[in-house]
Subunit: 349 residues, 3 copies
Amino acid sequence: MITSGLKGRDFISLRDFSKAEVESMLEVALQLKADNAIRRRHTDILPGRTLFMIFFNASLRTRNSFEAGIYQLGGNSHFLSPSDTRVPALKGEEIAYQTERISDMARVLSRMGDAISIRILGDKVDWVYDKGLRVIQEFAKWSDIPVINMEDNVYHPCQGMADVMTLREMYGRDLRGRKLAVSWTYSPSTKKPIAPHHDFMYAASYFGPEIVYARPPEMRIDPEIEAAIKANVEANGGSYSVVDNMEDACDQADIVYAKNHVCLDLLPPVAAQPKHEEMAKLFLKYKDWIADERRMKMGKPDAKYMHCLPCERGFEVTDEVMDGPWGAIFDEAENRLHAQKGVMACIIP
Amino acid sequence: MITSGLKGRDFISLRDFSKAEVESMLEVALQLKADNAIRRRHTDILPGRTLFMIFFNASLRTRNSFEAGIYQLGGNSHFLSPSDTRVPALKGEEIAYQTERISDMARVLSRMGDAISIRILGDKVDWVYDKGLRVIQEFAKWSDIPVINMEDNVYHPCQGMADVMTLREMYGRDLRGRKLAVSWTYSPSTKKPIAPHHDFMYAASYFGPEIVYARPPEMRIDPEIEAAIKANVEANGGSYSVVDNMEDACDQADIVYAKNHVCLDLLPPVAAQPKHEEMAKLFLKYKDWIADERRMKMGKPDAKYMHCLPCERGFEVTDEVMDGPWGAIFDEAENRLHAQKGVMACIIP
Amino acid sequence: MITSGLKGRDFISLRDFSKAEVESMLEVALQLKADNAIRRRHTDILPGRTLFMIFFNASLRTRNSFEAGIYQLGGNSHFLSPSDTRVPALKGEEIAYQTERISDMARVLSRMGDAISIRILGDKVDWVYDKGLRVIQEFAKWSDIPVINMEDNVYHPCQGMADVMTLREMYGRDLRGRKLAVSWTYSPSTKKPIAPHHDFMYAASYFGPEIVYARPPEMRIDPEIEAAIKANVEANGGSYSVVDNMEDACDQADIVYAKNHVCLDLLPPVAAQPKHEEMAKLFLKYKDWIADERRMKMGKPDAKYMHCLPCERGFEVTDEVMDGPWGAIFDEAENRLHAQKGVMACIIP
C-alpha cells in the first residue's frame, strides 16, 4: 500500500494512476466502509474541508454519494449548478454577464475551499466528445486544489472505482480467470454516455480479468482507450476481445455489465453535428440486445449483473434481472459512496 | 411515554401511530425545544446521519425546518429537486433518460444515508388525489430507511404534529372541553391542498376536543378521513360536527383554524380532469369567508388564530388577525422545527 | 477595538457602522484568516447556528464565501432560491399561491435559525434602484435575527469589507497618502450594478485615501452616496474628486479599481423604464475605457488592479492585467470569505 504521493493530486482519469495507487485508494475505501458500519462520521479525517460540486448534468448517485461522503469524512459540500452561478467558459467562448472564464472561477474557488468536483457531458457540451474533459482539465490547470471528475463524455473514474471495489468484494484482489462480459444494449434514448463502459473496463484491467466487449458492428468504444485497456489488462495477466453478439460475451461470464452507450460515429468529432435521429434508427435494429434471464443463465451459476444506474428497465435490462438473484447493482451503487470517500481521503490535503 | 417501537418506522400518516406514540414524539419535541433555548445543536442525537429531502413542490417552512432540524440533531441533509435528478417514476410511467423507477432510487438512497423525506402534491401529480401518497408509499416499500411525508394531497402529518404541539403548549395535554373551529375560507388561488385541514383535525383528535368544521355546502374533506377523525376524537372524549357557516364554528371557539382548501368534487378522482376555472367561480360565491376581527371576537376572550402558512392575506385572513393579539401562527411555524426534530429523533435509527 | 454593540445588528449598509466598528470587524477577520491557515474550522465560534441565504441573483463568490464561511465558524447555511420557495413580496405586491409577504417569511425564519442574508438586484427588481434595498430593509424590520445584505442595486457592503481588508493587508490601517483610482470601464453588458463602486469607495473612505473617480460625463454614482463618501474621507484625512478620463485617475495611483457600472440616468427612478438599448449605445462611445497595461504602468511601480469579479475580460480589463503582476483580484476574492466571517462572528448572537 502506498501512503504518499496522492495528496493534492487531481482525480480526472484512472489512467493517471498506477495500479499501486488505485489499490491504495481501494483499500482506504474498504477500510472506511467497514468503519461506516460502526459509526457514520469521522470528523477527524477531513475536518472543516469544503468540496465544491459543479453539476452541469442531473445526478442522483454521484451527487448524493459525494455530498454524504465528504460529510461523513468531517467536511462539507456546496451543490453548485451553472444556473446559480455564471456559466464556466473556456477562453474565447465567453459572453458578457452570462459566463465567467474558468481560470478565474478555479482560482477563486481555490481560495475558499479544498476540492472541486465537476460533471459535464452530453447536451451540455453539444456532444462534442472531449469538451467536458477539456473543461475539467482547464479547472485543474488553474486550481490550486484537487479537481475530481464526476463524469464527462470520455471518463467516469469514480464509477470505475466503485465497480472494481464491488468486484474485489466478490472475488478478491486478483481478477485473473474471471470473465467480464461488457455489452452494449438497446435504449430508446440516444443520450447515454460511453464513459461508464470505458472506466468499468479500465478499472478492471489493473487486475487481469478476461474482458469481452460485445456490441453491434456499428458501435465501438474510443479506440485510444481501447488500446489502453488492452495493454493494461494484458500487462496484468488478462485479455481483451471484442464480439458482435451478447451471447458470446455472456457465455460462462462471471459478470454481465450490460447497458446502452451512444454511437460514437454519429457524434462529433466524427460527425459534424450530433445525429440523434439516425442513432435512434440504428439502435432499433438491435432492440433485442437486452440483459435478460436467458442471457444471465448462460453465465456461471453465480453470475452477477452490473449497471452504473440509472437504467432503462425493459430496454437495457429486464425487471427479472434487476430484482432477481443476479443484481449486484445496489452494492455497486453503495460503493460509489465508499470508493469516493477513499479517493477524497487520499487526495484532499 | 413509549421508548421503543418507533426506530425505523416510516412517518407517512398520523393514522399509523397510536396516541401513546404520538404523545411520546411530542414529549421528545418539547424536551428538544427547551434544550434548544440553551444550546443550538446536539451532535450526539443523530451524529453523522444524512436526510435526503425530495421536494417536488416549493417550500419555505418545511424545507428550512427539516434542514435546520436534522443539523441541530447532529446530522446533515441534501436538498433534492426532481430537476436535479431524474424524476422518480412509478412502474409503467417511466420515460427513458428522464425518469428513474422509484424502487431503484429508494434502494440506492437507502445505501447512502439514513432517511428520506418527500413533498409531492398538486400540479406535480396533476391533482390526482392519491398519487403523491402512492409515490411516497412506493418509496417506503423499497427503502430500508425511514420515509417521512413532507405533504401530499391527502396528509401533512408534520404540520399536524406542529399544530397539536402548539395546542399542548397553550392548553396542556388534555383538549377535552376546548372548541376548535376548523374552517374553509376564500382564496383567489384554487391550488391550496386540503391535507393541512385533515391533519390538524386528526392530530387534535387524539386529545378529545370539540371539533367543528365549517365549509360552504359544496366543499368537504375526504369522507374516509372524516370518519377516522370522528371515531378518534369520540374515543378520546371529544366530538366532531360540520356546519355551513363560519360563525357557528367561531362562536365560543378557543382556536380558529381557518384557511382555504380545494374543492374535492372538482378534482380527480371525482372529476375526470381538474376543473380549476369552475372552482375559482365557485370560490367567488364565498368571498366573505375570511378570518377577520369580527369572527375572532366571537370566540373565547383569549381565542387564537392558527394557519399553517403561507397565507393569502386579505383573502383567507385579515392583516389585523395575522398581526394582532390572536395570532398563534409563528409559534405554530416554529413548532414545525421542534415537532419534526422529535419525530426524527424517535424514528431515525 | 470595540467588543460590544455589534451582536444582533443588521449588516445592510456600511454607513450604519462607525469607523471603530468597521475596524473591529476587520481585525476579527484578519485574526480568523490567520487561524484559517492552521485549522479549517472553529466549531466553537458559532456552533449550531443556521444562516438562511436568499439569492434572487446568480452568485459564485458571495454564495461560496458565505456557505464556506458559516461552516468554518461551526454553523450551517441553507441556499434558498425564490424558485424553491414562494417569492418574498412587499405588502401590496402579493399574488396568491405565488408570493408570501416578507413580514411573514422574516418572522418564520427568525424562529428557525440565526441570520438571514439576501441578494436582490437588477432584473429581479426591474432595475428599480432602491427596491432591492427596500426588500432587505423589510426583512430586517420584521426579523428578530440579523439580516445581511449580499448586494442590492445600491450597496454591496460585504464586498466593501473585503476590499478594504485587502488594502489593509497591502498598506496597513492608514490609507492617507494612498491614491485609489476608481474608474468606470466599458462592457458589452448593461446589467452590471453600481453597488461595488459605491462600497469600495465608502469602505476605503474610513481610512483617508485620495479617491479619484473617473467616468465619462454621462455617468455618475449616486449623488447622496457620493456626498457621504466625500464627507467620510475628508473627516479621515483624505480627499474625493471626479475626473472624466482614466488617465488622470491612474496617474501615480496605488490602486486601480476599474470596472463597468450601469448609467443611473437611464434607469428608474430617473428614467420611467430601464433603457438598456440606449445604454448599450452610450457605452459604445467609450469602448476604449479598459484597464490595460498602458494605464497600469501610469500608476506607482507596485500599483495593483482590483475588481470584485466576475469581470468581462477583453472589455473591462485585459488578460495581461488580470493575469500579470498587477492583480490583487484573487486576494480580494479570498478576503470575501474572511471579511464575512469577521462580520458574522461579530453580529450573529
